[in-house]
């Protein structure tokens, strides 16, 4: 592998810049004449806008202009869209209500943007925003998704009667019902998946620059997928044709999904720049982030899992209500359907599955993909149900899982997915051994003597990554293909630039993508630069989410490297008068195998560009591009075990051990993979133990700051014991499955299974706050 090649623990190249404060984020960008924007936002969760009076605000010091929803409508800027069409089981298309970038008729959640103020300074813009008088007529409010479906509730969008967006199903209902009817045992549970706020370290920001000379727009923005942003802003929002719109996502400080989507603010900043004639920059403050960044999760499901007399699962029936908030965000429809219900088979051989999903409008922030996106919801549902079933059936949770594992591949589930490879028992065994599962009873007895309740829980997760085969997702309603692109440019002196459509916002691509090149050509990674995040520099690409950069983005790089390698060998063979099939590349040299003849890499590159002595008919230069469209999803899987001690007097949970045994396929940089797992588990523990968005009945966000929204901190977390045992993915050239979301997917059920084991009460919802755990522990007595 070499010291910097595939499999090496190479320190992250980008960290010098991040750790020394030299990162360049959207808010760091400054251009001459730039002014600052503040948005006027609705203080009401549901109201009619009777009038927007900006006359006083426009007269305030430093104010350039105040623009509202009627003006953006008049200028022809389109509605925000959801890009994945879902059809209800009656065949009707999903009921998408209008989402205007600036509301002009109705506001539907607290934080809905109504107007933009552009001023010389943020402070002046803020002062003027307070002086914009919006006359609201308040409307009744509904927060809870189940309630929103009931008769007589407030209606958010005329397009969606009873607030129902779609009523969708997957699987075979009659076969599933039959299995349940004939079952030896049926486990029934209700599963709540709590709503989360994404909280990337860098809040969202946008800088819109309109150049009247060229009638051209530039948008710096906090995006995980700048090309998709350009495509959507161009094709749907009528901001500008693609060739007149450059989108740049520079350093981006975390996304977790929340920066996939195109939000109102970037569109409005671009439009406002043209209207005002000045570049317009907006940076979210933390309160705005809590109010308006797309939230995650928020499912309620009822579950029936049917077992035969041998504890084999024979059927699974799920009915889910998913809260999508006030508007349909870009991928909101895909999350509770194809990213969720298609994973309901888990690691288990289940002959019949049926899931029904209803998605619902409420007067809350839009909900969309958040680290894991549907797969944590499926995993939590399944693994809590499995644990409950094991308790009801009186068998060990490990044995119940073992009995039901899928053991031969490929495996076709009843819910679309075709698993290509895996060894679930290997992960289970590795995790149980690492956790000293068999020694738990003694540890529990010792804890009992100290008055502490000790519990252990496991979770066997599977997820679908490598999103996604374009034709397959197209047939399921996706509005885009989910391939990835790469271009490899070898410079005349042999240094290399890799242009990728993936986007790094914490993942470490500048290191791992360079490792692929180092591995292939034996050049130092310092001679390789990764270029990404700018639509003017990089060919069309689909961006980073769904743990796709390794399996899809790197596969595109590999395809481009193949082409570069082939041409490089031709050039070298020509230079050394050898046969190209005899050329091998080692340690930065192209050698004739079995001889001492060699051409250094840089000399071959120089030859490509001087073009003085190339094979007949060969074009000069050395630069190759490739698009890679995956043949299948990839299926990372693993087993997580969590051990806790609960203080029965206070309900406080202390995580005393957390073990992760993952199968990610082949690994490029184990250190970065471990970091991803650590971060993912921290996020999963955050969901299970600490985090939860609360709205009051009037739709006011009670968790709008860190005073009330509990994020995981170092002292909430144990040291993680992580390991991998990998079955290579057969469907991509590197054998990669993906690791970015696994920790967040696998950890919540392990933790809740452990706490419920400790307190002897299975009725516990996330987040398992001290109050809830205390109450549940006492109810169990």
């Amino acid at each position: 592998m070499g010291v910097e090649g595939i499999g090496a623990r190479v320190a992250r190249k980008e960290d010098k810049r991040f750790l020394t404060g030299k990162g360049r984020y959207t808010d760091d960008m400054s251009v001459p004449g730039m002014k600052y924007a503040v948005f006027v936002r609705s203080p009401h969760a549901h109201a009619k806008i009777l009038k927007v009076d900006a006359s006083a605000a426009k007269d305030m010091p430093g104010v350039i202009d105040v623009l509202d929803g009627k003006q953006i409508l008049a200028d022809g800027i389109g509605n925000l869209i959801c890009g994945w069409m879902i059809h209800s089981k009656d065949g009707s298309p999903m009921k998408m209500g209008a989402w205007r970038p600036l509301a002009h008729e109705t506001v539907r959640y607290v934080g809905d943007a109504v107007a933009i103020v552009v001023a010389d300074s943020v402070a002046e813009a803020r002062d003027a925003a307070e002086a914009v008088v919006v006359d609201y007529q308040e409307l009744p409010v509904v927060i809870d998704a189940s309630k929103a479906l009931e008769a007589g509730q407030p209606q958010l969008h005329p397009e969606a009667p009873n607030n129902l967006i779609f009523d969708w199903q997957i699987g075979d209902e009659s076969e599933t019902d039959k299995a349940i009817a004939t079952a030896a045992h049926v486990t029934e549970v209700t599963i709540h998946n709590n709503r989360l706020s994404p909280n990337p370290m860098e809040p969202r920001a946008a800088l819109g620059i309109y150049d009247a000379g060229d009638d051209h727009y530039t948008c710096y923005t906090t995006s995980q997928n700048p090309h998709v942003a350009r495509l959507v802003m161009s094709a749907f929002y009528n901001v500008a044709p693609e060739n007149k719109l450059r989108v740049i996502a520079p350093d981006v400080g975390g996304g977790f999904g929340s920066k996939i989507y195109i939000y109102p603010e970037e569109i409005v900043c671009l439009w406002a720049s043209k209207r005002t004639g000045v570049p317009v920059k907006w940076t979210s403050d933390r309160t705005e982030a809590f109010l308006t960044d797309a939230h995650g999760r928020d499912h309620v499901s009822t579950v029936k899992m049917a077992f035969d007399a041998n504890n084999r699962i024979i059927g699974l029936k799920v009915d889910t209500i998913a809260n999508l908030g006030a508007y349909m965000s870009l991928f909101s429809s895909a999350v509770p359907t194809y990213l969720y219900a298609t994973l309901l088979s888990g690691q288990y051989d289940i002959p019949a599955i049926h899931a029904n999903v209803r998605t619902v409008y409420t007067n809350t922030a839009p909900v969309d993909a958040y680290r894991g996106a549907g797969r944590p919801e499926a995993t939590y549902l399944l693994e809590r149900t499995m644990e409950t079933a094991a308790r009801e059936l009186g068998v060990s949770p490990a044995e119940l899982r073992r009995v039901n594992f899928i053991r031969s591949f490929p495996h076709q589930t009843p819910v679309i997915m075709n698993y290509d490879a895996g060894d679930y028992e290997a992960s289970l065994n590795a995790a149980m051994q690492a956790a000293d599962w068999n020694g738990f009873a003694a540890r529990k007895a010792e804890a009992d003597r100290r008055g502490m309740k000790r519990g252990i829980g496991m979770s066997c997760y599977i997820e679908a990554c490598g999103i996604a085969p374009s034709a397959a997702v197209g047939s399921l309603g996706a509005g885009v293909g989910l391939w990835e692109s790469a271009e490899v440019r070898v410079n005349a002196v042999g240094t290399i630039e890799v242009l990728t459509g993936s986007h790094s916002h914490g993942q470490g691509h500048e290191t791992t993508f360079a490792q692929l090149v180092a591995d292939r050509f034996g050049v130092p990674i310092d001679s390789v630069n990764i270029v990404h995040g700018d639509t003017d520099k990089v060919q069309m690409g689909m961006g980073t989410y769904g743990s796709r950069s390794g399996a899809v983005g790197m596969s595109a790089v590999v395809k481009a490297l193949d082409k570069v390698e082939a041409k490089a060998k031709k050039i070298a063979a020509h230079l050394m008068e050898a046969d190209e099939s005899d050329i091998v590349i080692e340690n930065g040299e192209l050698k004739v195998a079995g001889t001492d003849k060699a051409v250094p890499w840089f000399q071959m590159a120089l030859a490509a560009y001087t073009a003085h002595n190339l094979p007949a008919g060969m074009e000069p230069g050395l630069k190759e591009g490739a698009f890679y469209d995956p043949a299948n999803f990839t299926f990372p899987a693993g087993c997580y075990i969590c051990e806790v001690e609960v203080d029965p007097d206070t309900g406080r949970t202390k995580i005393v051990q957390f073990v992760a045994a993952d199968d990610f396929g082949n690994i490029i940089n184990p250190m970065i993979v471990e970091g991803q797992v650590h971060g993912g588990i921290a996020q999963g523990i955050g969901q299970a133990l600490l985090e939860g968005v609360h709205y009051d009945p009037s739709g006011q966000l009670l968790t709008a700051s860190y005073m009330d929204y509990a994020m995981p901190r170092a002292d909430d977390l144990p040291s993680f014991q992580v390991s991998t045992s990998n079955t290579p993915c057969p469907n991509n050239p590197l054998g990669i499955k993906g690791c970015g979301e696994a920790g967040a997917i696998g950890s919540p059920p392990a933790l809740i299974n452990a706490i419920t084991d400790a307190i002897g009460n299975n009725a516990l919802t996330m987040p398992a706050t001290p109050q809830k755990v205390w109450a549940a522990a006492h109810a169990a007595k």
Partner: protein, 265 residues
């Protein structure tokens, strides 16, 4: 934040003069609550008069068991004062767990008690220690000082200049932190004097702010042990309910933290 005028007062008298000259002035002594509130535009003082650098409000003096802490003393300085630790380690320990290092180096004891946040730690210590709040005008017993949520007996322009107390024979503070803010969701300070007097003060839990729990005090006078509290009931109807903890849970925490404080004292 709205525009405001910052003043660094050089003496107590200077601070009072500046306050009297200001339109809508506000004293600041660390600003750990006030500055975030101003940033959110929920407070808009025309003038901020900073008390933190007034020499006569600095420092800790311990004489025998008599303690005097200048109001502008930071939490860090209280936490790390060796002479204070020798006679009343409980208050040093309390200070060491306020906020984070940034807060402990900026926030002051005077600022904390004058603000009287219902989840702040120091008010419980003041009540349980039977402290005297010294102002530029008078001396106020802690029992008379804390009058409600963010309410104190301070009059306009009155400044807390110091607090004083006699170190008790035994004392301890136990805090159960809010998982999000890390403020006290319930904190209990217990103190026992050589003459057998006991005070139990509770912060973070009371619907009307910090309070003493008379039944617990009586039980502990009779028998200074955690078990003495087992049969004392805590009335949940006088406690706070919020998204983190309802009153019944806080009532439980009051008792649990009180027992642990007695055990730790």
């Amino acid at each position: 934040m709205y525009e405001t005028q910052y003043h660094r007062a050089s003496s107590v008298q200077d601070a009072v003069s500046r306050m009297e000259a200001a339109g809508e002035g506000k004293y600041v002594s660390g600003g750990m609550t006030l500055i975030p509130t101003m940033k959110q535009r929920l407070a808009a003082p025309s003038d901020l008069i900073d008390l933190r650098h007034i020499a006569e409000m600095q420092g800790i003096t311990v004489s025998g068991r008599s303690v005097r802490i200048g109001a502008a003393t930071t939490h860090y300085d209280v936490a790390s004062a060796a002479a204070l630790k020798a006679v009343c380690p409980a208050i040093c320990s309390l200070a060491s767990h306020i906020g984070d290092p940034h807060v402990r180096h900026m926030g002051t004891i005077g600022g904390s008690i004058a603000n009287n946040d219902p989840a702040a730690d120091y008010p419980a210590a003041m009540l349980a220690l039977g402290a005297t709040i010294v102002t530029n005008k008078r001396e106020i017993a802690a029992d008379d000082f804390f009058t409600g949520l963010f309410e104190t007996a301070l009059e306009d322009s009155e400044i807390v200049t110091a607090i004083s107390f006699e170190a008790p024979a035994k004392a301890a503070y136990q805090k159960f932190a809010n998982p999000a803010s890390r403020y006290a969701m319930t904190g209990v300070f217990v103190a026992r004097r050589d003459n057998g007097d006991v005070r139990v003060a509770v912060t973070g839990a009371g619907a009307n702010g910090v309070f003493r729990h008379g039944d617990m005090e009586a039980a502990l006078v009779a028998n200074w042990s955690p078990d003495a509290l087992s049969n004392v009931s805590v009335d949940a109807s006088e406690l706070l309910s919020d998204i983190h903890a309802d009153a019944a849970y806080r009532a439980n925490l009051v008792k649990v933290m009180a027992k642990r404080a007695v055990a730790a004292a």
